[in-house]
Symmetry: C2
């Protein structure tokens, strides 16, 4: 069976991936539904499934596996595309002032507090800078998913949180670029920072404008020619391409996918596109959250220095974002909900930590403290929001809008 | 932006994969619906989309890309799982004698004829053996997809074709193992061939038995505890694991996935599982067929030796399988439909060719001739079947059983 063995050897990656996928799907669904039994959003169960399957405990899921990374990315893109499809841009803009204020304060305050705490703990300026930066960006994926799990995505407070989370992701990417220049030893020019900023915001505006002009005629013609399924497939493909475009101009994949969703949202085809995307999300979205969980190595949490630094960062991270929720003093609505909604850090915080470690700026203990902050803020916010907002708004099961994020 | 550039560099594979996926989805849907306009099954359009995107013409899709390979494998597994879910094992066994006869004659005749033609064309025994072997296995994926595209999966002739195609895949894998031993210079023992054969057939029987005993109680409990979506996800995860198990014992991934579908088919949960799987198939299945198309390099078809050998193999391949369709002389039904249904070779034929080329037994011209035979038999059968069976049985659009393969 030498040749058969050779064929098997060539297929080893496929079988490995299939086993890993099966483990992810089973653990995510089982712990997701268990979390709901305990009155928690399903995403909490999926993140814990990741911790369980990851290198800290079972070692079944290696988040560095390239195929898994791609599938997880597709998952978060489908999630953000779907969130964009459910978002009314006018309603988002109507709370735009509040969202921008929350985003700005929610970036400046944690960054400053984090820097101060880090230097107080005896860190030099450069690692303190990276620590501060890693506290800035709310995970829009986790926040939106929690709000959708609770059936509250359409409320005014949720719209502020969503808008602010998208904005601080954009700001976070600008900070990442700037911090990278400083870490790299480059001198910082105001012009280059302004250019990065202009590109990041200009992309969203340009994509929305093109989308608004081009989508209705093009998809009207497609709807006459093809099936509903073809329409949904084209829309998803365009969301992928918009995401890639966003990445190429210096923004982020998820911002592009969200923007594509925003562009399709007001068209008559949005419900058909959502139906096509929801079931795909059931498969792909848990892969993303399990990967985020698996990226956290809880074995490093045993050292007292990691715990002390980590807890300090948690306090700073929570206080900074909750205070930001109260910043738009004119906004009529529960500001505590906004603040707590901004608390979860996620993939962007981990990217900062990873970047700092790769560049040699963060030692392993500091890296572990940041991942500790990420996992605690992420797991803290959902039950708090749930307490503040009350039980999940019941939605009938089925292919309804929101089901992806509600039940996945 | 040094660090940001580093982050982008790490993400290059993701963006590349996203662009490739977008191209695949758009081209597959566009050419698939175009094929249906011309009265052809959608799968013909998807295969041609693969040729178009592949290295021969646009060079956008490299079927050797590992991530793409995994996604394509997931696609064919979902397809075969879905076909299994739609298959009534008792009905399949009721035509079991006819199917076994078609499979056996359909393996022996093309193998023998191919060997004779190859030696007549002046080839030594070893490459002639590989050429013969590459003619044996009908592509169960393509055949099942075409029959489903035409809405004929439940007819008696289709059941014979399906049963025979699954059987000759199992036989094909045994031949692959045997040919591999010969190519590797090993002496062939009757005992080892018997063992391979027993394992290949024993796996299906054992998996079905375990499935029949374990699925109803386990999934009954799951249905009481969890959502319909969780049920479908568990079933798909189990199909992946059954596929891996099949591969490990020396059978094939697709046989495992099909067997898992057969095991779930008679349970009350089959419709819920199908609904969960169909939409996933819309995404994954075209990736498989586009990959099959992209694996064919039509630039090599220009040489006269390739064309002559290729055409000879096409004649032998068609005659051998059509004759096999008439072998079960007692079967009441259109035997020509069975024969033509067995004509398409696909992934298994390409695996033989690849194996022979990797082992140095096939020169590039011979390899090209085999891929020519694969693409021609694959593209020949759908329109012929369509002519013989008449227009597609209309099915309403939606998440109905069969929609995956009918409309994907």
């Amino acid at each position: 069976m030498m040749l058969a063995a050779a064929v098997s050897a060539a297929e080893v990656p496929v079988t490995t991936v299939l086993v890993v996928l099966a483990a992810i799907l089973i653990a995510a669904k089982a712990l997701g539904e268990l979390a709901e039994r305990f009155g928690q959003p399903a995403v909490v169960g999926e993140l814990l499934a990741g911790v369980l399957l990851g290198p800290s405990i079972l070692g079944l899921v290696d988040p560095g596996l390239p195929v898994l990374h791609v599938l997880a990315e597709i998952g978060v893109l489908i999630l953000l595309f779907h969130i964009g499809l459910e978002t009314d841009l006018r309603r988002l803009l109507s709370v735009g002032g509040a969202a921008a204020t929350v985003a700005l304060v929610g970036v400046v305050l944690p960054f400053g507090l984090g820097y101060v705490v880090a230097t107080q703990l005896g860190l030099p300026a450069l690692p303190a800078l990276v620590v501060g930066a890693s506290l800035t960006a709310t995970s829009v994926g986790i926040t939106a998913r929690v709000l959708a799990d609770l059936g509250r995505l359409q409320e005014r407070e949720s719209q502020v949180v969503l808008g602010a989370a998208v904005l601080d992701d954009i700001v976070g990417l600008i900070i990442l670029a700037v911090v990278a220049q400083i870490v790299g030893g480059a001198t910082l020019s105001v012009g280059s920072v302004a250019l990065i900023t202009a590109i990041a915001f200009g992309f969203v505006a340009a994509a929305l404008l093109v989308g608004r002009l081009a989508v209705p005629p093009v998809f009207g013609a497609l709807a006459r020619l093809g099936s509903e399924q073809a329409l949904a497939t084209f829309a998803l493909a365009l969301a992928f391409l918009t995401a890639v475009l966003a990445d190429r101009v210096g923004s982020a994949l998820i911002i592009g996918a969200f923007t594509a969703g925003l562009a399709f949202a007001p068209t008559v085809h949005a419900p058909a596109i959502e139906r096509g995307v929801v079931r795909l999300g059931h498969f792909f979205v848990p892969i993303f959250f399990v990967s985020v969980g698996a990226a956290v190595d809880i074995r490093t949490f045993g050292e007292s220095r990691v715990i002390i630094t980590g807890l300090a960062l948690v306090v700073v991270g929570v206080v900074g974002k909750v205070a930001a929720g109260y910043a738009p003093f004119w906004f009529k609505g529960r500001k505590a909900v906004i603040g707590v909604g901004m608390v979860p850090r996620g993939e962007v915080g981990l990217i900062f930590a990873q970047t700092g470690r790769t560049a040699g700026v963060l030692d392993p203990g500091l890296y572990a403290a940041i991942t500790f902050m990420v996992i605690v803020t992420t797991l803290l916010a959902p039950p708090l929001l749930k307490r503040m907002l009350g039980p999940a708004r019941g939605r009938p099961s089925g292919d309804r809008p929101g089901e992806l994020v509600h039940e996945a």
